[in-house]
């Protein structure tokens, strides 16, 4: 089992002191270490943003590609070698904005992998512009008059599109986040964990304190039922609240919204995945019999 100190790098991350990314890395590296997975058993893929700079702070088999394009790369890896566990880390701008199209189709495909979203409701790396999950009317350098449009509701979109595992975590609660990561990694299918990750430098509204005052755990609610899609969808509507809502006015659920134990994954639909794809491509295939038809 690799130690936490082995799955991460002895390098001080360049994140701002106090950033939610630190706790997210703590949670994930502990889960990776405790899972006992060997380095050759998993691959990590990052988008571009502050979250993506995490690529430099883990030691793994990793891929740090283009902004918004982590999911297609990860899908490629997952479909090339079904024996690998694939873990994707994206931002809210990265995964729900420029990569939003991939998000929807990855949900549809139910590719067996885990997608973690560092949702700080802002573009961190590029200095604080509004992101697709910024609340309506939020003032940012790119929206001096306030964000005009409604935010993306990632949980709602995923649930509506047929996702088989949708959870939401909070970087201020590492033990809870670890539980979500563990369940996501154990899930057979596309597992989504959207994580509130306060950006202490650019988002002065959705701070640790803001979430702490509003977040509650679904698992602790009386009629909790993560097998009900309609219920999950209803809960996701908490995305739409007033920018300046008081804590008692906007209650924000965290935990597993929805899960489907037995689902048909994309990998299940591809019989050629009985072995890694490179094994198919070692010799030219004889296509004469196909040509003869013509």
């Amino acid at each position: 089992m690799p130690e936490v100190s082995e799955v991460t790098r002895a390098l001080k991350p360049t994140w701002c002191p106090g950033c939610g990314n630190f706790n997210m890395q703590k949670a994930l590296s502990e889960v990776l270490s405790e899972s006992g997975m060997r380095f050759e058993e998993y691959v990590m893929v990052w988008g571009i943003g502050c979250h993506g700079n995490g690529a430099d702070f883990y030691r793994s088999q990793g891929f740090h590609g283009l902004h918004g394009r982590a999911l297609p790369v990860a899908t490629g890896i997952a479909l090339t070698n079904p024996q690998l566990k694939v873990i994707v880390e994206m931002g809210d701008g990265d995964g729900y904005g420029i990569g939003g199209n991939h998000f929807i189709h990855s949900v549809r495909r139910n590719v067996n992998m885990t997608a973690i979203f560092h949702n700080n409701q802002i573009y961190g790396l590029t200095t604080g512009q509004a992101s697709p999950t910024s609340d309506q009317f939020m003032k940012t350098p790119s929206t001096p008059g306030g964000v005009v449009e409604e935010p993306v509701n990632p949980v709602g979109v995923a649930v509506a599109q047929g996702a088989t595992f949708v959870a939401r975590g909070f970087a201020g609660d590492v033990p809870h986040l670890k539980e979500l990561y563990e369940q996501a990694l154990a899930h057979e299918g596309f597992a989504i964990v959207d994580v509130f990750q306060p950006c202490v430098t650019w988002n002065k509204i959705n701070t640790f304190k803001w979430y702490r005052e509003r977040a509650y755990k679904l698992e602790e609610t009386p009629d909790y039922d993560p097998t009900s899609r309609t219920k999950a969808f209803e809960l996701s509507m908490s995305t739409f609240h007033d920018l300046t809502c008081a804590p008692e006015e906007c209650r924000i659920p965290i935990g597993v919204f929805y899960r489907e134990e037995k689902s048909f994954t994309y990998q299940d639909g591809l019989p050629q995945l009985d072995r890694p794809l490179w094994q198919h491509a070692q010799q030219p295939r004889d296509i004469r019999s196909i040509l003869e038809k013509f």
Binding site: F39, N53, A55, Q61, L84, Q279, Q282, P284, D286, L291
Partner: protein, 270 residues
């Protein structure tokens, strides 16, 4: 295709002239991409892809799979050439030919960071911000172009040798077909034509094109674009120009009649 880039990087661009070229270049492109670990572009067009034609069997026995410096399974420790001094696998190890051993995820010991940011030999992006590392990686990547020159398909020659030709023709892509037809029509008239088809457009085969042009009496470029893209490459890399040009850029392929007429006109004027 040749210049589009975010920063400079090596690449190969090949232009099939007909179906058989397309078949051969397609499998060669996959091999080259693995051998060079760099993008390889097949420059097709609608004339090639939207037409049907009966053709003899392709030579399937010629097809090979070349994966280059590639490790798909096992332990990376068994490949010392892939490791740095401390035994760490280096995805982007600085090598003489610019290509480093590529280990697939799943190979034991091959932790690595494949990175779209500039990076060091391991793949770390923060180290890639150092000026010396950046230059070394940039130079390493570009060394692949020298290797590419030794691997890519050379230009194809048709007709008589340029020394013996009344007129010598330079083309690329699907202009090949109508040009060969025009040459066939000129044969009974006693007109001897040499033709060079530039198959690999990039890296540009400057030496071959130069000796072709220097051996020719009268030279013509026939190309399906407005600005003279092939002619530009000839000027830039061979420091030569051709005597005549024929362009077509109305979205349709050349007809043999058009090329026949041009060559007839060139010969009449010569």
């Amino acid at each position: 295709m040749i210049h589009a880039a975010q920063g400079e990087f090596p690449r190969v661009v090949m232009a099939p002239g007909d179906r058989e070229d397309a078949f051969v270049l397609a499998w060669k492109a996959f091999n080259l991409a693995d051998q060079l670990q760099t993008p390889v572009v097949i420059l097709g067009d609608s004339y090639l892809s939207d037409n049907r034609e009966s053709i003899p069997y392709y030579d399937l026995d010629a097809v090979t799979v070349e994966r280059g410096k590639f490790v798909a399974e096992g332990d990376i420790a068994d490949h010392p050439e892939a490791l740095g001094a401390d035994g760490q696998y280096f995805r982007y190890k600085l090598t003489e030919d610019g290509v480093s051993v590529r280990a697939l995820p799943g190979v034991s010991g091959a932790t690595q960071l494949v990175n779209s940011y500039e990076h060091d030999e391991y793949g770390w992006g923060s180290a890639g911000e150092m000026a010396t590392v950046r230059s070394a990686q940039d130079e390493k990547r570009m060394r692949k172009m020298e290797l590419a020159r030794t691997l890519v398909p050379p230009p194809a020659l048709f007709g008589v040798p340029p020394e013996a030709a009344d007129v010598s023709l330079l083309v690329f892509g699907t202009t090949k077909g109508p040009a060969l037809e025009a040459i066939r029509w000129l044969e009974p008239e006693g007109v001897r034509v040499a033709m060079m088809q530039v198959v690999t457009v990039w890296p540009f085969p400057a030496e071959e094109v130069l000796s072709f042009l220097d051996a020719a009496k009268t030279t013509v470029i026939v190309e399906g674009n407005l600005t003279g893209q092939l002619q530009g490459l000839v000027r830039q890399h061979c420091l030569r120009d051709v005597d005549h040009t024929l362009h077509r850029y109305d979205g349709r392929p050349f007809s043999p009649e058009q090329i026949y007429a041009k060559l007839t006109e060139v010969i009449a004027g010569a």
